[in-house]
């Protein structure tokens, strides 16, 4: 991404400050299915700096695309929040065939769920006929 692009589309990926910080201090640990990259601090010194007052390792994510926290899938969410010590691949069983792809929260976007009859779906709903039984000549 171009330098100007970075400045003017701050809602995609990391800001310049975060990129610099990541370059200097970060250590890449992995990427998820959507391409979001996960980092932790390279230096043990960082453990005592701001953001890790409990002495835990500092972990962060740089999104591939929009900065939307719901794009973090559950396994990486656990890692980010310190629930798991190690990266998900190392201990999670391989995905089952019936597991579906993780979908970020679509609320507020064009993909949001619209119930039948919503104006965005044309405002038409089928007739309510379920509460009585109609007579037919046959």
């Amino acid at each position: 991404m171009s330098f100007l692009g970075k400045i003017f589309t701050w809602w995609n990926g990391a800001t310049i400050g975060t990129s610099l910080f990541t370059m200097r201090r970060g250590e890449k640990v992995g990427t998820d299915a959507q391409g979001n990259t996960y980092y932790r601090s390279r230096n043990k010194r960082d453990m005592t700096t701001a953001g890790s007052y409990i002495g835990a390792e500092r972990r962060w994510v740089i999104y591939e695309g929009a900065n939307d926290a719901s794009r973090v899938p559950p396994e990486w969410h656990g890692w980010l929040h310190g629930s798991f010590d190690d990266v998900p691949e190392s201990y999670l069983p391989p995905a089952k065939i019936w597991e579906t792809e993780y979908v970020p929260n679509a609320t507020g976007t064009a993909d949001a769920y619209r119930p039948q009859g919503a104006l965005e779906r044309g405002g038409k709903r089928v007739k309510a006929v379920g509460d009585y039984e109609a007579w037919t000549p046959e």
């Binding site: 009585y132 039984e133 109609a134 007579w135 000549p137």
Partner: protein, 668 residues
Amino acid sequence: MPKVTVDGQEIEVPNGATVLQACELAGKEIPRFCYHERLSIAGNCRMCLVEVKPGPPKPQASCALPATDGQEIRTDTDMVKTAREGVMEFLLINHPLDCPICDQGGECDLQDQSMMYGRGATRYEENKRAVTEKYMGPLIKTIMTRCIHCTRCVRFSEEIAGVDEIGAIYRGEDMQITTYLEQAASHELSANVIDLCPVGALTSRPYAFEARPWELKKTWSIDVSDAVGANIRLDSRGREVMRALPRINDAVNEEWLSDKGRYQVDGLSRRRLDKVYIRKDGKLVPAEWNEAFAAIAAANPKGSIAAVAGDLVDCETMFAAKALLGALGSDHLEGRQTGLDYDCSNLAAVNFNSTFEGIENADAILIVGSQVRWEAALVNVRLRKAAKRGAKIFVVGPQWDTTYPATFLGEDAAVLHDLPQAITEAFSKAERPAVIVGGGGLAKGALHPALAFAEQFNLVREGWNGFNVLHMAASRMGGLMLGYAQKGGIGNIAKAKPNVLISLGADELDYGAFADSLKVYIGHHGDAGAHAADIILPGASYAEKDGTYVNTEGRVQFAEKAVFAPGDAREDWTILRAMADALDVSVGFDSFAELQSAMIAAVPALGEEGLADFGQLPNADASIRASGAISYPIADFYMTNVVARASATMQRCSSELLHHDDLKEAAE
């Protein structure tokens, strides 16, 4: 008239009043479970304890204690308060704590009274008693563990319904209420015990787990399942009528309702007509309103149109149809679908003149061709009261199971011209003699012989009119007042061969007689009428429109609209109004209010709630003679109208209670 003091307030009470009634007159509320105004006094729940002086220094059951002069009654002392708390605690020893899953929740006397008069906390550690489930038929659901042994249900069956169906077995804490041999309760008023039961022991089976009382919209309506015009309350949620309950009206239904009136409402959401249909090439196909009106106009109805009113329609619909026919230059109106043809020139002769309240006081009653139990179950309750007061009751017609002693005089209607001595004796001695002519009697020409009988025994005297006709259709008296009666009856209309026949929900009619007419059916249920029709216009049922009904006493009553009609269905008068436009005539009203005022202008009696005055009885025409074996028109109590026939509950009652199919398993 004894004078008593209630909480320091001195009042005079009627003779024979109890202490409980005295307290009520003084405006004090006395909690009670077993006492009920219309039942005998049992005095077994002890909830109504008060302090009475003079008397033993202990609380007394006020419902069973006569009020006497100079009594000093206290309902607000500490002794009364602790006594009530104690009784409540005893009642709750064995009552399960299952209010969240109990259908009585929200309208339960025990809940309310334990809130008001009970202790704040419980002291129980022992196990509660459990009672085995009983089977009481397709209408009554039992959870007998909840029973508090008030015996209201037992007293109702014995005293009001007059059938020994429900009773108690064992005693003390082990007492259990059951139907004998666990048969289904099968009389026509059985479901009233559900209202009477102060707890959730007897609840409504079709309504089980359907709704809570506070989420229902309550609408005052009139029952149309028979000609009694019982006052009911329709409880609805959304566009569905969930249940019908009786309203209190001492003049009509007291506090009761027949099982049909109560449980046919589930038929309101089945077999509904919700679109216009037109018959094309012998088949009914869905169509538009305009097409239907064009087809009617094309049949050339000017001067050649007839209207037949069904049993459930209101006066407004009938008047709208009459106005339409008038504008088209026709007066072929008829409501007596089955072909009855009695003399309607004087409405006093086809009215229940004694009134339901009055007939209780009759001391000799002759029933001509009416199976009152099925034709008007609530009138039968009144007759039973009269019998208990000593009335002698005679019946002409086939035997049926009366709930009181009655003498059957054979099936032949000709017996009216050759009265047995027992009758002449009883009626010449009687102070308030009465005759009741039913549909079966009218069919055999018994109207004028009965009028002659009334003259012979002087049935109309100072303060008493003993001449009664008992109809079966809710629309009948209203129809007669609006002129829905031809000389010659329905046969006469068939003879006139109208181009267009408008059927206002007439399903009992023989449509074969109108083979050449364009048959337009305006109604709400698909039944015989819809199958025979050439054009079906979907209308509203009694729950879906405002309307005026006149019961067999000539009592004018208004019903309100509870829910909206389904699909494309419209209120009937709007259909007739639109039809008038399509046929290019004017009926003179554009709104329901205008229609009503036009109707009241034409028949003023319909504008006033209460008994209509039909004047003097006509003179009997001695040349008309009754003859032939009487037969009763109702073959199946639970299947008399389209709504009931569509109702799953009524179908189950009919097959289980009348035809004794073994549906017990299926119903569980």
